[in-house]
Symmetry: C2
Subunit: 147 residues, 2 copies
DNA sequence: ATATCTATTGAGAAAGATTATCATTGCTGA
DNA sequence: TCAGCAATGATAATCTTTCTCAATAGATAT
């Protein structure tokens, strides 16, 4: 929705960074594809529909800035490239379900790790500030196939 | 210990793959550094002490084979290269604590995800076969520093 | 409006990890 | 001894990401 695009613009427009047409186009694409986990290349292809002459380096630079500002979250699903999504939960991130057959990525919004994080603190003296949790397996569509 | 090295040799010697001196040297290094999470390059450097003329491609090829045989587990800690460790737990893997200050990686052997995996199955119809869980934060040595 | 200053940009080179290619080597078994 | 084939090492190629640098755009001061 456009309201979210406005909020993101505000987050970017902190004085530290300029709001350029390239950065606007990138934010627009991220808003228009909220539920995907796009790679830099995929974002690049979609931004070029709005701003055909943008350079790939600008995509990478902007993704870095948005990640620093905690507007974006950078992830690794093991396919050899970083993937990004808008930060919508706090302070910790949601979990991902990766289907080993069709490659689909779905989400688990519930955290449910409080108990485990307490254990980690109590037994290892480790202060947890974030986590990355992925489940590998078979999605509802794929679990009944054999291969 | 050497007993473990013998077991690994047996796992490799299934008829599908030959037990070569290069592969023996790689297994030896993996046994001698069980508790580390070495990269291919780090393994390469250590194997060359035992077998100086080995090629880097052989390292990569062998790590692939050992991973296919479930002797090794390939991991990504977000530092731009794959890291490996001997598989010692089953069926799921243990968790890792990554210190954001000193970079140390420690382990949590307890699984404690059964409940969450049940939830994932019940509410998302997703059949879990493995997981990857990393906690980011500050280790016992680093949690009391400010920066 | 003009000059000035600086952040941003695009193109392309470079880096770094991993994979592919290919000729050579070393076993194994007839 | 020879044929067949897996394994190897050197090196090229690939792929994503970062770096470099000259050109540009936008803001500010004059
Ligand atoms: Mn997500
Ligand atoms: Mn480990
Ligand atoms: Zn699926
Ligand atoms: Zn630490």
């Amino acid at each position: 929705m456009d309201s979210d695009y406005g909020k993101l613009l505000d987050k970017l427009d902190t004085g530290k960074y300029k709001v350029t047409r390239q950065r606007e186009a990138i934010l627009q694409v991220l808003c228009d594809h909220k539920d995907e986990h796009m790679s830099a290349e995929e974002i690049y292809d979609r931004v070029r529909e709005l701003y055909p002459d943008i350079g790939l380096a600008t995509i990478y630079r902007t993704l870095d800035i948005l990640t620093d500002l905690h507007i974006l979250h950078r992830m690794d699903f093991g396919d050899g490239r970083a993937r990004y999504e808008l930060v919508q939960d706090k302070p910790h991130h949601h979990h991902h379900l990766i289907c080993l057959r069709c490659g689909s990525i779905s989400e688990v919004k519930d955290d449910l790790l409080y108990q485990l994080e307490e254990t980690v603190d109590r037994e290892h003296g480790f202060l947890v500030v974030d986590h990355r949790l992925q489940f590998l397996g078979y999605c509802a569509n794929c679990r009944d196939f054999d291969s």
